[in-house]
């Protein structure tokens, strides 16, 4: 008997028995529809997660960031040298491992599979601001770091090359999006009792939570307030903003000292400020054109990325741009200088960067670093470490009056000192000194040649004595990926089991209800194999109908809920991954509009195979029905 004839019979049967047929068609439709939606979105999720977690084309995972953990020696006012003293602040490369140096860089460079390294350090500029991010606020740019384009892929997938005259690509740091303001409530002086934090005994009894709450209370009492500013990342990317390298530091508007009652904040009066300002101007005008020195140097920046990190508060620009800025910064001072400064006043009255022929350092470098590290604000007016970081407290009155009217920080001034003695030699007048000087840094960026070697490199780094804790974002991705794989496999299994079940059950039902029909066919000469084929083809036709409808519905629904899935994905990512990683790439919502055609194809084949195989069982039963009993059962 021709197969076409059997199909013909089945089509006629279907037309006549639509309702019964739905018993098989509808479940198949649902199964296929759900399988389509779930597998497509699981695949989309995997792809999106891969891009979000692993960064652009997995670039991020080829870069490691090794940080030097800062030890805070002896608490506030400890070995931190006051700006009035002469000489280095003691942060050269031979001091106890405060920073990385060329030496460390060379060691790491020598490790197998390391492609490139870079020490990143903040520019020694204390008064820089960025305007244009927020309508009514200018933010401080206290920690501008230059990194190579290669390393920038850690934070952005956009172009990070600097060309002179063009806007400088910048990767902003959300932790700098803060506004600082003073709230004195009419008082001139505010004292805060630090005893809750200060006693060594009491601290030991407190939980971290209690300490945090106590600190929060104390911070609330302080007249200096910081407010975090809201931002919209996607609106920021591509925006042009302005960097301003300002002139002289703002004079401190308040002082801090410690008394037996606690921390004392004293407001500096308008008169005092005016006097200080005048004194400063008079002093500086002896050797510099005051206005020229104070003139801000501005640069156009274009935002290519925004970082949200708890470990990092740096703003990143290309190394070449950083060098250019430093050159301009130093050149400004050189141009403003009208006459030579007496040697005994250098590093005494007038401070700047020290250059020993090797390293270019700032007295303020460490300070700025520490400020950047702990997220403090302000332009040199206050030093505020976390009291619990210090190993001991100074219970005695140690006065930290930062603003010493007899010494001034001259922006861009480079003072040449003797490498051995530290004695001042004179002014250094080569503006390009920053570019050629050795750097020391708290951070080394390491680029590996391939992700597969990451584990090896991490072990080698640790073996070499540098502690590096791998965040294992590969692991997190791996676990997310695995979860998704599990889902995919579960869906596949469910698909197979359910469709097998549906087909067997409904086909058996159809067969048992078709005894008479079978009897008639058999009586007039249809073979057993003909009966078998008749029912297998029935299953095939009904399943195919269910499949087509289910696939179309599945595709339509999958696309229409892609917006929902996208939102769900974003919140899932920010709640998990976003907590611990440098930057989470923005994922295009269009990723979720994809249908996994390959999965659909595979499911089609699986379903076809299942249908044929599984329906053989009831079909076989059908063929065994003897016409005698079938017709007798009338």
């Amino acid at each position: 008997m021709k197969i076409s004839s059997l199909f013909f019979i089945n089509i006629k049967k279907l037309k006549n028995q639509m309702k019964k047929a739905l018993f098989l068609i509808i479940p198949i439709t649902l199964i296929v529809m759900l399988a389509t939606i779930i597998t497509s979105h699981t695949a989309n999720f995997q792809k999106a997660a891969s891009e979000a977690i692993l960064g652009t084309a997995q670039e991020q995972n080829t870069i490691l960031k090794i940080e030097k953990t800062i030890e805070f020696p002896g608490g506030m006012g400890g070995s931190q040298s006051s700006p009035t003293s002469s000489g280095n602040s003691g942060s050269s490369s031979n001091s106890q491992s405060r920073s990385f140096s060329e030496y460390d860089l060379n060691i790491i460079n020598a490790i197998e599979h390391v492609k490139a390294t870079q020490m990143t350090s903040s520019l020694p500029i204390s008064n820089a601001t960025i305007d244009g991010i927020f309508d009514d606020t200018t933010i401080s740019a206290n920690s501008i770091v230059g990194i190579d384009a290669e390393m920038a892929s850690l934070y952005t997938d956009q172009d990070f090359t600097y060309s002179e005259g063009e806007a400088i690509p910048v990767i902003l740091n959300a932790s700098t999006f803060t506004k600082t303001y003073e709230e004195w409530n009419g008082q001139e002086e505010i004292t805060i009792d630090m005893s809750a934090m200060g006693q060594p005994g009491s601290r030991g009894d407190m939980t971290q939570e209690e300490m945090d709450t106590t600190r929060e209370n104390l911070e609330n009492q302080m007249p200096i307030k910081t407010q975090a500013l809201d931002y919209n990342e996607s609106e920021l990317i591509g925006k042009e903003i302005e960097l301003s390298i300002n002139g002289l530091d703002d004079l401190a508007t308040y002082t801090i000292s410690m008394s037996s009652e606690g921390m004392v904040f004293t407001k500096v009066s308008e008169d005092q400020l005016a006097t200080s300002e005048q004194t400063r101007q008079d002093s500086i005008s002896q050797y510099w054109d005051y206005d020229k020195l104070n003139e801000a140097i501005t640069y156009k920046l274009v935002v290519v990325g925004v970082i949200e990190s708890q470990q990092d508060s740096s703003t990143y620009i290309p190394t070449e741009a950083a060098n250019q800025i430093m050159t301009d910064y130093i050149q400004r001072e050189i141009d403003a200088r009208t006459t030579d400064v007496p040697i005994d006043e250098l590093n005494a009255v007038y401070n700047g960067l020290s250059y020993d022929g090797y390293e270019l350092e700032s007295d303020q470098t460490e300070q700025i670093m520490r400020n950047a590290q702990f997220g403090a604000q302000g332009n040199g007016a206050m030093m505020m470490g976390r009291p619990d970081e210090s190993s001991q407290t100074s219970g005695n009155a140690t006065s930290i009056e930062f603003t010493d009217t007899e010494s001034y920080n001259i922006p861009g001034l480079v003072i040449e000192v003797d490498a051995d003695t530290g004695d001042v030699i004179g002014q250094y007048s080569d503006a390009t000194v920053y570019k050629s000087s050795a750097k020391s840094s708290q951070t080394i960026l390491v680029k590996i040649d391939s992700i597969s070697n990451r584990d090896d490199v991490v072990s080698a780094i640790n073996d070499a004595g540098y502690s590096y804790q791998d965040f294992n974002n590969l692991e997190m991705f791996g676990s997310i990926d695995q979860t998704l794989q599990t889902i995919t496999i579960s869906i596949s299994i469910a698909f197979i089991v359910l469709s097998m079940g549906v087909i067997i059950i409904t086909m058996s039902k159809f067969v048992s209800e078709s005894k008479k029909e079978i009897g008639i066919f058999r009586a007039i000469g249809m073979t057993k194999s003909g009966i078998r084929t008749l029912f297998v083809s029935q299953a095939a036709i009904y399943t195919m109908i269910g499949y087509l409808i289910g696939a179309v519905l599945g595709i339509v629904l999958a696309i229409s809920i892609s917006g929902l899935i996208y939102n769900w994905f974003n919140s899932a990512i920010s709640n998990t991954v976003g907590q611990g990683f440098e930057v989470v790439n923005t994922i295009e919502s269009s990723i979720f509009m994809n249908i996994s055609w390959s999965s659909l194809g595979i499911y089609t084949l699986i379903l076809a195979a299942i249908t044929i195989l599984v329906s053989l069982i009831p079909a076989n039963q059908a063929s065994k029905i003897s016409p005698v009993e079938a017709l007798l059962s009338e």
């Binding site: 008997m1 013909f8 037309k15 066919f521 009338e634």
Partner: protein, 230 residues
């Protein structure tokens, strides 16, 4: 043409044995017809089924044109039946989801003919039973008599040598009954087919040129009867 030798059918149910048919033998020529009569339960339907290849005999043989009906596997047997025999049932047994013409097509489709070919011939057959205008109607849209006429047309589908009819008029009224019998026997005569029919209607049986009486599964009597119309 048809040779039945010592045909027996017994059913065993545990320890009890039922002899439905006991040692039946007969012989017919092509074109001969046979009426099978007897009280209910006498084994008439069983005999028809055994001869028609529907129910396998416990012992004995059925040979049609020297071919053993029960030789070979299911495919062989089914094929032989499909080519050689036509069936008309008391319950008619049309497929309810097929139209009149499609029902008639079925035996031809089973034989492997194309739909076009089968449809053409089916229409001719329906014309023979005067139902060409009802070809696209479903069984539920037809009367009992019309349905059985379709049944007859279906039985003639593959130009069978033998038509087995099991009380074909059992469900019909007198007028339709007469009609059906006439149609069946007229066509059979035209095509020189043999009709083997079970009937309990003596008036029908008397027109057949062979009559077999069955009682309790045994042949009570077998008579050759020369039909005056032959």
């Amino acid at each position: 043409m048809i040779k039945v030798e010592s045909l027996t059918k017994t059913y065993t149910d545990g320890r009890s044995k039922v002899v439905a048919l006991d040692n039946i033998s007969l012989e017919l020529e092509q074109g001969d017809d046979l009426a099978i009569v007897g009280p209910s339960g006498s084994g008439k339907t069983t005999l028809l089924q055994l001869m028609g290849g529907i129910n396998r005999p416990t012992s004995g043989t059925v040979t049609i044109h020297n071919r053993d009906v029960w030789a070979g596997n299911d495919n062989t047997i089914s094929k032989f039946r499909n080519e050689t025999m036509g069936f008309v049932f008391q319950m008619i047994y049309l497929q309810e989801y097929l139209t009149a013409i499609e029902n008639v097509m079925i035996p031809m489709l089973i034989a492997g003919k194309s739909q076009a070919e089968a449809r053409k011939h089916a229409l001719e057959l329906l014309a023979k039973v005067d139902l060409q205008d009802r070809s696209e109607h479903l069984p539920k849209e037809m009367s009992g008599g019309e349905m059985q006429r379709v049944g007859v047309a279906r039985a003639l589908s593959n130009n069978p040598k033998i038509i087995f009819a099991d009380e074909p008029t059992g469900k019909l009224d007198k007028k339709n009954s007469k009609n059906i019998i006439k149609i069946l026997t007229d066509i059979a005569k035209q095509e020189n087919m043999s009709v083997i029919m079970i009937t309990h209607d003596e008036s029908i049986a008397k027109d057949f040129n062979n009559i077999l009486w069955l009682e309790h599964g045994k042949m009570k009597n077998f008579a050759k009867n020369t039909r005056s119309t032959k």
